[in-house]
């Protein structure tokens, strides 16, 4: 089947206005929020599960890859059509299908924007707990694919802890259900397995999520330190003291200065690091915990601990954190954000190691991250137009992740493996581990037409590209690009 025929049939399935195939339109779907890029051959916007199933059937018949995509805010290339083919955009499947407040559940289509769901249930005192920094744009379908986290997942858990059921279109076009509104049902937990499978197992078309009660009280503190080391030791001290804040974020001196210049969040320009700490719960609990946090920070040589006095001040403190990546974009042509995880007790030495890596490769690396769960986000600044700098950037990134693994951590805490870190999977997993994961992949997606070239190292992707030898196949990390 020629691709022109594929496009014609896509128009028949989804409607003439629901398919893009002109080069200038496709360009918008070449990238996500990370560095990778590749051009799809067509983008289609289905409106229903039935249309998704028909498109999947068509792709299978034509032997064309198919890649689901939410808002394209991912950071690991999960929604990029690495081998060309069809991108399935979910912007028209963006309805909240059901709010079942008695069961603390919502049923949503994958294109629903994360924050829109929380806003829709705020009146009932509920929210959807996973809160990626991109929550104003990112979709719940994307959150499910990547098992997204966010600052408040420290206390509340990541996406998988908040999904109980799915409707899924499998790569063979069958529409199936995994789980439902009840949690812990009998049978294999395919819902849990699906969340975080990065679009390589099936396409979620309905998602049943838990809704969480908003806390009665929240206290947001900003602890200011002379050195990164003091801040890092404070994180260890807080965790050891049995305090589980709702969020515990760190910005190092370089990053907080960059952020402060852009957002005026109130971070002191002359400090070495700040911790943004939030505790929530009952008023009584919050008062006690805020006091305990403040005491520990001071014992750990905090220069000052400030507490937001009202919601406006709280939002201001958070605005620095949530808009940080944008702020960095003002001062560097490109940056590479890493997503390593380490045991929380290893934060001090890991940050020192990152500093050494920065010196070794003559790069600037800022640190802004979810300290409370040891999820680092080193930001490596570089100029994408300079191939030599790009090379050093990737080498430095790899070295940092190797260190994370060496101290017992992981290569990704919330961004996913995608096409960014698939070659690093052997750092964490043995050949047997990967073979077992491959068997599971093949049980659902035997021809690798669904999101090919992701998650698994290339030794297996070779086989995939044979199955889908399309001229528009992408180039992955070979052509890093600037943050849009």
């Amino acid at each position: 089947m020629s691709f022109a025929t594929v496009v014609k049939r896509l128009r028949k399935i989804a409607g003439p206005d629901a398919v893009l195939d002109r080069p200038e339109d496709l360009m918008l779907y070449e990238y996500d929020a990370g560095l990778a890029c590749a051009t799809p051959q067509a983008v289609v916007f289905p409106r229903s599960t039935e249309q998704v199933a028909e498109i999947v059937h068509l792709a299978a018949e034509a032997g064309v890859p198919i890649v689901p995509r939410g808002a394209g805010t991912g950071l690991s290339g999960g929604s990029i059509a690495r081998d060309g083919g069809i991108i399935l955009g979910f912007s028209r499947m963006n309805h909240i299908l059901e709010l079942d407040l008695d069961n603390q559940r919502a049923v949503v289509e994958p294109g629903v924007v994360n924050l829109d769901l929380s806003n829709a249930v705020a009146g009932a005192g509920l929210y959807f707990a996973p809160d990626p920094s991109s929550q104003k744009a990112c979709t719940i379908g994307g959150n499910v694919a990547e098992n997204s986290g966010g600052p408040h997942t420290l206390a509340c858990g990541v996406t998988v802890n908040h999904v109980t059921g799915l409707e899924v279109v499998l790569p063979d076009g069958r529409v199936v259900e995994f789980g439902g509104k009840a949690a812990g049902v009998v049978g294999y937990d395919l819902t849990g397995f699906f969340v975080g499978s990065e679009g390589t197992v099936g396409i979620a078309t309905k998602i049943v999520v838990k809704l969480t009660r908003l806390p009665e009280a929240v206290a947001t503190l900003l602890a200011i330190f002379h050195t990164v080391d003091d801040a890092a030791h404070t994180v260890v001290a807080l965790t050891s003291a049995g305090i589980t804040p709702a969020a515990l974020e760190m910005l190092d001196g370089w990053t907080l200065r960059a952020v402060e210049e852009a957002t005026h969040a109130g971070y002191p320009m002359d400090s070495g690091a700040v911790l943004l700490i939030e505790v929530e719960g009952l008023r009584e609990e919050v008062e006690e915990q805020a006091e305990a946090v403040s005491g520990i920070c001071q014992m750990q040589k905090a220069r000052e601990v400030r507490r937001a006095q009202n919601e406006r001040e709280r939002q201001l403190l958070w605005s620095g954190r949530k808009n940080a990546f944008g702020a960095i974009g003002r001062i560097s042509p490109s940056y590479y954000v890493q997503d390593g995880v380490i045991p929380r007790t290893r934060i001090p030495d890991t940050l020192r190691h990152i500093e050494q890596v920065a010196r070794k490769y003559s790069l600037t690396i800022g640190n802004i991250f979810h300290a409370g769960d040891g999820n680092l986000h080193p930001l490596i600044l570089f100029d994408v137009r300079d191939p030599e700098q790009s090379r050093r950037t990737h080498a430095a990134g790899r070295e940092i992740l190797e260190y994370c693994v060496q101290v017992g951590g992981s290569i990704t805490g919330e961004h996913g493996v995608g096409m960014e870190k698939n070659e690093l999977m052997p750092l964490l997993f043995s050949a047997d581990d990967l073979e077992v994961m491959t068997r599971l992949h093949d049980a659902f997606n035997p021809r690798s037409l669904l999101n090919p070239g992701k998650l698994f190292p290339a030794s297996r992707s070779c086989r995939e590209t044979l199955a889908s030898a399309h001229p528009a196949a992408g180039l992955g990390l070979d052509s890093p690009r600037a943050e849009a």
């Binding site: 499998l170 812990g184 009998v186 819902t191 965790t239 929380r344 493996v417 964490l428």
Partner: protein
Amino acid sequence: MSAAPALPSLAEELAAIAGPEFVNDDAGMLRVFAVDGIAPAISVSPGSAEEVAAILRLASARDLVVVPCGGFTHQDQGGIPKRADVLLKTGRLRALRHYDAGDLTLGADAGMTLAEVERTLAVHRQFLPLEVARPEASTLGGALAVAAHGPLRHAYGGVRDFCIGITFVTGDGKIAHGGGRVVKNVAGYDLMKLLVGSFGTLGVIVGASFKVFPRPSASRSFLCEFPEAREAAAFRDRVLRSPLRPECLEVLSPRAAEYLKDSIPGAESKAVGRSAPEAWRVALRAAGSEAVLARYARELGAAVSTELEGQSEAAFWRSVITFSESVEGRHHNAMILHLALPIAAVAAALAAAEQIALDHGFLMAAVGRAGAGALVVALIPILVDPPAAPLYAAAVKLLRLALPHDATAAVARCPREAKSYFSVWGTTPTELDSMRGVQRALDPKSVLNRGRFML
């Protein structure tokens, strides 16, 4: 033509893998490991993941059925075994792999008992919210395989929510890891989720890592009484809509009290004197400082009939965790069901269970996580003579029909004769073909617990 050399016996081959002292084929001794009258032909206690893998490769080659077991506390659950060739005991795999108190993570081999985990964590005032009736016997691997949970599931979620890494051996003998030892990790497929609740049919779990939690400084529990299940559920809803965030929120049927009674405190005190004989109860456990506990007392107000603290509180929750065992201990013909259902269906399910019990010659007693939608329902025969097996089947069928379509009701225990009249697992909303695909991927020759799971 000379005779072919005799093949080594299974016992010899297992002995070559694990050492002869860890292989047992004494039929008399193996009888205690019988399930529904089917005893394993031989047992083996491997000392490492590699030995487990070798045993499973051998079993695959010889087309044997392997039954993995930890403390042998939950083996009853499942269909009647068709065969049980090799009992694979994980008891020798009990090393602590890592415990980083500052990071609140712990990893250990599958055969470590929950009591040992508890002792290890207690040193740093931490704990794993994985509750079982017999922690001295139950193992980490077993608790994962059956997705064990107790009242703490309300606040901490199920074991799927705090198991962060797993090592297991596939049916065909490959050692595989998923996750790791850090609290946040999305690298690779989430194999933990597949193994949790797989009842030993996808792999033999040989080790796991967990997020652990700081022990609350103090706690207090509140018992509230209601004439009807509906009112108990309405109270549960009031709590769920309030700012309170209890550790446990448990519903207890009137008859459940009989199986918890040694622990319902001060049986002679006024508190119980006030109790209605047929009261439904909601038990709420609060944790925190005195100010926080006082707030709970204020908010719950007049609804509270009894407050529990200290040892009596611990004893009460222990008795909730051991509810099934208390029922079984007294009525060996009782049937125990595990229900998973949307929380708004809890009251109707309990009312249906009472009615169905009444209609079929049973008494109903239940405890459960009212806020998480997980109930343990016991149907206890009224007569000393066991009811006819089809009555069990009829009761189960009707109860399942009374539940929403996405709920499940698995029979955790019932007399063997009854098992042949119905599926102990019932239906699940999760598509069966996909489950079969996963099973074929991980246990291609169906070596593990063949025929006992729902597929």
